[in-house]
């Protein structure tokens, strides 16, 4: 059942569940962050509408900087603004920021320990029709290896808004990963969110879970569908929303592994180095259990609808379900 303590969207399993772009939640959250703190500034690389920074630009034109199609400059200029006390949010497609400007982020933001928030919209395969050049499938890996860098990958628009407001209050560099297409609303205003805190969104009505499914980003919706279907088949699961990938909630991961002794990770990202790898690092050292990884298997994407691509690259409901069945046999 949905965790009754978290006040999740009660209509989540309705066929007509409301769908909103995760990036839109960021756009709204940035305006709120700007209202809370006048030091919040926004910089964009010629994608102001696409990344939803446009709301901030319209509300605070004097605090918005248009950089042009120059992502390396986007990162370095933001670092300079942060040096003067600003809290810059920089946005582009994830493929270009942090894709193109990784070293600039490393040297001038992470190594310098500047409070710059890197906003990668259009993460994952669900970018869809734009094709493989624009589908960021490596961004979590490349940001995860960077000291000082926090990483948040919200599961829906509401969580994206909360995460944006929360990140504006930290003094640290951070990466927030957004999706392009509309995804189901999973949480509500009342659902708790804190950076670094994983939450169990689904749990058995009675007894212990046999498998822990750990998801990040929009795919948690599919993980919940799987959990519900498996419940009717008599397989008890827990579904964790691991929206903060770094710093990772070690205690929650270890507790889940101890209870279930079998884990499935689910992300719209290369399996190599992504969220699943982060989970494996923690569990291998603390409480080793079998893990199945749902994600892109060392391939580039291509054009197609999100549904077609998630099916083709084995990140769909059936794939998650099969992974759960398989991991049970490996216990």
């Amino acid at each position: 059942m949905l965790n009754p303590n978290l006040k999740l969207n009660p209509k989540i399993f309705n066929p007509d569940v409301e769908e909103v772009n995760i990036r839109k939640g960021f756009g709204e959250g940035l305006v709120s962050a700007g209202e809370i703190d006048k030091n919040v500034v926004a910089l964009c690389a010629d994608l102001t509408e696409s990344t939803q920074m446009i709301f901030f630009k319209e509300k605070f034109p004097e605090r918005f900087v248009e950089i042009g199609v120059a992502e390396q400059n986007l990162a370095t200029v933001a670092s300079g603004m942060a040096a003067m006390g600003k809290i810059p949010f920089i946005s582009s497609y994830a493929m270009f920021s942090p894709g193109r400007n990784w070293e600039q982020i490393r040297t001038t933001i992470a190594y310098n320990d500047r409070s710059v928030k890197i906003v990668g919209s259009h993460g994952g395969i669900s970018v869809g029709v734009d094709g493989g050049t624009h589908q960021a499938l490596e961004d979590i890996s490349i940001m995860r290896v960077m000291p000082n860098m926090d990483i948040v990958s919200p599961c829906d628009a509401i969580e994206a808004r909360k995460a944006t407001i929360a990140l504006a209050k930290t003094k640290k560099p951070a990466y927030i990963r957004l999706l392009r297409e509309k995804t189901p609303i999973i949480t509500t205003e009342e659902t708790p969110f804190a950076i670094g805190k994983a939450e169990i969104y689904w749990l058995p009505e009675v007894g212990l879970a046999q498998v822990g499914i750990i998801a990040t980003g929009g795919l948690i919706y599919r993980a919940l569908l799987v959990a519900k279907e498996l419940e009717s088949e008599g397989i008890k699961t827990k579904v964790m929303n691991l929206s903060t990938i770094k710093p990772i909630d070690e205690d929650a991961l270890i507790a889940l592994a101890k209870e279930t002794k079998a884990i499935v990770t689910v992300e719209e990202h290369q399996i190599a180095g992504g969220m699943g790898s982060a989970v494996a690092e923690v569990l291998a050292q603390n409480f080793p259990v079998p893990i199945e990884f749902i994600g892109v298997q060392d391939k580039f994407g291509q054009s197609g609808s999100p549904a077609e691509l998630l099916a083709h690259y084995h990140m769909d409901v059936i794939d998650i379900k099969n992974a759960v069945r398989k991991v049970v046999t490996r216990k």
């Binding site: 390396q72 370095t76 200029v77 040096a83 003067m84 600039q104 040297t107 320990d113």
Partner: protein, 291 residues
């Protein structure tokens, strides 16, 4: 700010002392860059002892000018100048590049909080200075202080440099002054052979900057150039400072191989005393002749 004859003499002696410290610290470290630091010693001396609004006893003073060193590999001159200015003890210069030192091989702002940014990877400093200048404009502080960026000629090979130049021109950042160390060398050879930069001044002009070209070893013209830059209202200004790499030690001057060599590389330790005696930076004189 007026530069008197007396002040010039004082700066010349200071620059000579700084060059001496650079050679000493590189010898002690056993590695590091030689030519760039010696070539920029006069520029650093003028800024730290005459131009900059700063307080070495209160380095975190919020109202200070900001000086971003983009080409972090010339940090021996930055460290030596800061030590001579009183930021930290001269004795600490001997720790350059050693384990546990605050004087990292390339500057790190958390190890040595008196530097504005960590630097080393090329082409990143100007854009950070642009960000600082933009932040000051947003806060209405752009008339209270200047953001300076020291950068090398070689790092114009980096696309990021031009992205920063373009954005500063677009935003007419009058509070931003760049100083280019035009010493014509980079690691693999002379800049015009590796990747021609000329016509460098015209390129900056085309990006809507005010351009001043000076000889970097004459305090008077250098000072006048910075005063002009401070007076220009409608554009950011770049001072292209024509410097002699390795300035002060005849053997090091104008030889691109000394970009990355430390004094140990060719000169035996016993020759080091000779190099110091030959330091000719006081209007072409050595220190004993000057005194």
């Amino acid at each position: 700010m007026l530069l008197t004859e007396e002040k010039i003499k004082e700066l010349e002696i200071k620059a000579n002392d700084i060059r001496q410290s650079i050679i000493e610290m590189l010898l002690e470290a056993g590695s590091g860059h030689t030519a760039g630091p010696l070539g920029m010693a006069d520029v650093f001396t003028l800024f730290y002892f005459h131009i900059l609004k700063h307080d070495p006893k209160n380095p975190a003073w919020a109202e200070r000018d900001r000086l971003v060193l983009s080409n972090g590999h010339i940090c021996p001159v930055l460290y030596a100048t800061m030590a001579h200015a009183g930021y930290f003890p001269l004795e600490e210069l001997k720790t350059l590049r050693k384990f546990g030192t605050r004087l990292q091989g390339h500057p790190h702002r958390e190890y040595l909080p008196y530097v504005e940014t960590s630097s080393g990877p090329l082409g990143l400093g100007l854009s950070q200075a642009v960000g600082m200048a933009l932040a000051d404009r947003i806060d209405g502080k752009d008339k209270d202080r200047f953001i300076y960026c020291f950068m090398s000629d070689g790092e114009h090979d980096e696309g990021n440099s031009w992205e920063g130049i373009m954005l500063a021109g677009k935003n007419k950042l009058r509070n931003l002054i760049a100083v280019v160390d035009r010493n014509n060398i980079q690691i693999d050879g002379f800049t015009e052979n590796i990747m021609p930069l000329e016509p460098l001044a015209d390129k900056w002009r085309a990006f809507n900057w005010h351009v001043i070209e000076v000889g970097g070893h004459d305090f008077r013209v250098l000072n006048e150039a910075v005063e002009e830059a401070q007076a220009v209202y409608e554009k950011p200004t770049v001072v292209i400072s024509h410097n002699i790499p390795g300035k002060g030690v005849h053997e090091f001057e104008r030889d691109y191989r000394w970009h990355g060599y430390d004094p140990n590389a060719k000169t035996a330790k016993e020759d080091y005393a000779k190099a110091l005696k030959e330091l000719r930076t006081l209007g072409g004189k050595i220190k004993s002749e000057h005194e």
